[in-house]
C-alpha cells in the first residue's frame, strides 16, 4: 500500500497539461480523408477501368462498390473507437464492419449466381493479391502508427479492423482500376485475401498495439 501511495505521488508530480484526444468520429474522418486522397492518387497513377461509368449502371457492380465503401467507412470508425480503452463507450458501433463485410459476402454470392455463363478468369491471378497488398502497405503502417498513439484494450480486434481498413482501400482501388468481371477471380484473388489479412491482423494487433 505504501508503494502505491509512493507511485501516486510520483505520477501526480509528472502530471502536466494534456490535450485530450479528439472524438473518434473526428479521428476517423481524418483517417478517411487521408485514405481517400491516397486512393485518388493511386487511381490517378494507375487510371480507372475504361468502362467504369457504364459499369455503375449495373446494380451488382454498384452494390459491390457500395459494400466496399461501407467497409471502408465502418472499419475507419471502428478502428478509431477501438483506439480508446473504453471504445468511447460506443461498443455497438465498433461492430459495424461485420455488417458491411456480411453485405459484401451477400453481394458476391448474388454476383456469383448471376455470373452465368461465367465470365472467363483473367490469366493473371496472384498478381492481383500482390498489387492489393503493396497498395495497402502504406495505409497499414500509417494506421498502426496512428493507433499506437492511443490506448487500445482490444489489441487483436483493433489490429484486425486496422488491416481490414487498409485492405478496403486496396480492394476499392483494384475494383475501380482493373478491367475484370470474373466473380470467381474477384472472390479468390481480391476478397478472400482481404479476409485472410483481416485474420492476420489479430496477431499483428497483439504484437504492434501493445502499450
Amino acid at each position: 500500500m505504501a508503494d502505491i501511495n509512493k507511485l501516486i505521488g510520483e505520477l501526480a508530480q509528472e502530471v502536466i497539461t494534456v490535450k485530450p484526444a479528439p472524438h473518434p468520429f473526428i479521428l476517423s474522418t481524418k483517417w478517411m480523408a487521408g485514405a481517400a486522397a491516397y486512393l485518388a492518387l493511386a487511381l490517378l497513377i494507375s487510371g480507372t477501368r475504361a468502362d467504369l461509368m457504364a459499369k455503375f449502371q449495373e446494380p451488382l457492380f454498384a452494390l459491390e462498390v457500395a459494400a466496399l465503401l461501407g467497409l471502408f467507412v465502418a472499419t475507419s470508425i471502428s478502428a478509431a473507437l477501438l483506439s480508446y480503452p473504453d471504445m468511447h463507450q460506443m461498443r455497438h458501433v465498433a461492430y459495424t464492419p461485420f455488417a458491411t463485410l456480411a453485405l459484401l459476402v451477400l453481394v458476391m454470392l448474388l454476383a456469383w449466381r448471376a455470373d452465368v455463363p461465367p465470365v472467363p478468369s483473367p490469366i493473371h491471378g496472384f498478381q492481383c493479391t500482390i498489387e492489393l497488398t503493396l497498395l495497402s502497405l502504406l495505409p497499414i503502417a500509417w494506421m498502426f502508427y496512428a493507433m499506437r498513439k492511443f490506448a487500445s484494450t482490444h489489441l487483436r480486434w483493433a489490429g484486425s479492423i486496422a488491416l481490414l481498413f487498409a485492405f478496403s482501400i486496396g480492394a476499392l482501388w483494384l475494383r475501380l482500376a482493373e478491367q475484370t468481371d470474373s466473380t470467381m477471380h474477384l472472390i479468390q484473388w481480391h476478397y478472400l485475401p482481404v479476409i485472410a489479412f483481416g485474420i492476420a491482423g489479430l496477431w499483428l494487433g497483439k504484437t504492434l498495439l501493445k502499450w
Binding site: M1, D3, I4, L7, I8, G9, L11, A12, Q13, E14, V15, I16, T17, V18, K19, P20, A21, H23, S83, Y84, P85, D86, M87, H88, Q89, F150, A151, T153, W211
Partner: protein, 168 residues
C-alpha cells in the same frame, strides 16, 4: 479527471487515490494475494496515467477506468498462467522419466526417505503423499488445500534438491 488533464497535481493524486479505492475490491475478488493485488494495481495506475489523454471528461469515468483495469488484469493473469504452464511442462518431462528411474535403479522412495525428511516441511509432505501414499498431485492439492499447479511446482523443486543431493 478534467482538472487533472489541465495539470492540477493535487486533484490528480486524489483521483488516483479514489481509483485505487474503487478498484481494490474488484481486484481482490479476482486475485489470490494482497501482494498480487498491489502489483496489478500499480500497473493499472501507470496505464491510467499513460492513457489519460484518451479520456475527455465528457463521458463517465468508471467504464473508462474499468476497461483499463480489466485489460491489465487479464494481462497479468495470462502471464501468470503461462508461467505455471511452463513449470507444468518442465514437470511433465521429469515425471516421464522419474518413475522409471526410481524402479530401475537401486533407489526407492524408502532408500531416500531420510533425504526427503530433510526437505522443507511442505515439500516433504507432498513427496510422502505422492510416492508413499500413492496420491496424485490433484488429490494432494485437495487434501492440503493448495492448487494443483502449486503442488506440482513444489514437487518439482523437491525433485531437484533430491537429485542434487543424490549426485553429490
Amino acid at each position: 479527471m478534467t482538472q487533472s488533464l489541465a495539470g492540477d497535481q493535487r486533484t490528480y493524486a486524489e483521483l488516483l487515490q479514489a481509483t485505487t479505492r474503487l478498484l481494490r475490491p474488484y481486484l481482490s475478488r479476482r486475485l489470490n494475494s494482497a501482494t498480487e493485488v498491489d502489483d496489478v494495481m500499480q500497473e493499472i495506475l501507470i496505464s491510467v496515467h499513460k492513457a489519460r489523454h484518451t479520456y475527455d471528461g465528457k463521458r463517465p469515468y468508471k467504464p473508462w477506468v474499468f476497461a483499463i483495469a480489466k485489460f491489465r488484469l487479464h494481462d497479468h493473469l495470462r502471464a501468470h498462467y503461462a508461467d505455471q504452464l511452463h513449470h507444468a511442462d518442465d514437470l511433465a518431462e521429469i515425471e516421464e522419466f522419474l518413475p522409471d528411474h526410481v524402479t530401475e535403479s537401486a533407489l526407492s522412495y524408502e532408500s531416500i526417505s531420510a533425504e526427503v525428511e530433510k526437505l522443507p516441511e511442505k515439500q516433504a509432505t507432498i513427496l510422502r503423499m505422492m510416492h508413499q501414499d500413492g496420491y496424485t498431485a490433484k488429490e494432494v492439492a485437495e487434501k492440503i488445500g493448495m492448487n494443483e499447479s502449486a503442488v506440482k511446482v513444489a514437487a518439482h523443486r523437491a525433485y531437484k534438491i533430491l537429485r542434487q543431493k543424490l549426485e553429490e
